[in-house]
């Protein structure tokens, strides 16, 4: 067993927290992928079994979790492209902070309409038609 480290290498700031978020979203998406391949495999069992399990994806709570999933995947994708830019673009390391706020802006711009369309049916079912 290694001895307890004195002090820490973690430096904080945008660089560290974007890296922490990349790991957390990566683990979450990966575990969902396991489940998702298993639920899709039910198409080999019977149409009824598949439709029954897919019905849970249409319930309000799981529908909300899907927004979280899309948000996690989108962050992981955008920040992954930022990491590639830091690795391969000569000015990448210098602009890593600006690029982070750039992808956060893109994330918000995509998630606002995305959330609207993903939750539209659930909101209408819960609170009556809004239109």
């Amino acid at each position: 067993m290694a001895t307890t480290p004195v002090g820490t290498l973690y430096r904080g700031g945008e660089g560290m927290w974007s890296w922490v978020a990349q790991r957390i979203t990566g683990i979450a998406v990966f575990f969902f992928l396991y489940v998702h391949v298993l639920d899709t495999a039910l198409v080999r069992v019977s149409p009824e079994a598949y439709d029954l399990v897919i019905a849970t994806y249409k319930t309000p709570l799981v529908n909300l979790l899907e927004v979280g999933l899309v948000g996690a995947v989108l962050y992981h994708a955008l920040n992954g492209l930022r990491v590639i830019a830091v690795d391969f673009w000569s000015r990448g390391p210098r602009y890593q902070r600006q690029m982070l706020w750039g992808i956060v802006a893109v994330w918000v711009l995509v998630m606002v309409p995305g959330t609207y369309f993903m939750l539209k049916h659930t909101v209408e079912a819960l609170f009556g038609t809004t239109s």
Partner: protein
């Protein structure tokens, strides 16, 4: 002992070790970037089609899957996405286990568990795409 002897001693730690050198970690690093770029398009496209377009998740059922997988294009899309995403995720989790599991035994068994479950999921998903029967039931 002379000064010359001491300087010669410095050579030892720099010399190439007998252990066979491997570029495995370099290839894994490159793979994460290449597969990542491909997955940006495949996965975000998949999420857009499944969750946002044309009513989103509410319209998905067995008939919807049957309609999609009647096309080799979507079969190929899903197959490539499955393999790249699983390998990308497995390598990511391998890195995380290597970083945080300090005991050799813990690290070894966590990675064995990871590899076995990932291989199972990849093979299951591949089997499902190739053997899908729209007339089942």
């Amino acid at each position: 002992m002379s000064v010359t002897d001491r300087n010669l001693d410095l050579g030892a730690p720099r010399s190439r070790r007998n252990r066979q050198r491997s570029n495995y970690e370099l290839y894994a690093w490159v793979f994460m970037r290449v597969s990542g770029i491909v997955l940006v398009f495949l996965v975000l496209g998949h999420l857009f089609i499944m969750n946002i377009l044309d009513g989103g998740v509410q319209r998905i059922n067995f008939a919807f899957v049957a309609g999609r997988w009647s096309s080799p294009f979507w079969q190929a899309w899903d197959l490539i996405m499955l393999w790249l995403a699983m390998l990308h995720g497995t390598n990511g989790l391998r890195t995380i286990i290597n970083d945080y599991a300090e005991r050799d035994q813990t690290r070894f068994w966590l990675k064995m568990l990871l590899y076995v479950s990932s291989a199972f999921i990849i093979l299951l998903g591949t089997l499902v795409i190739f053997t899908f029967d729209p007339n089942l039931g």
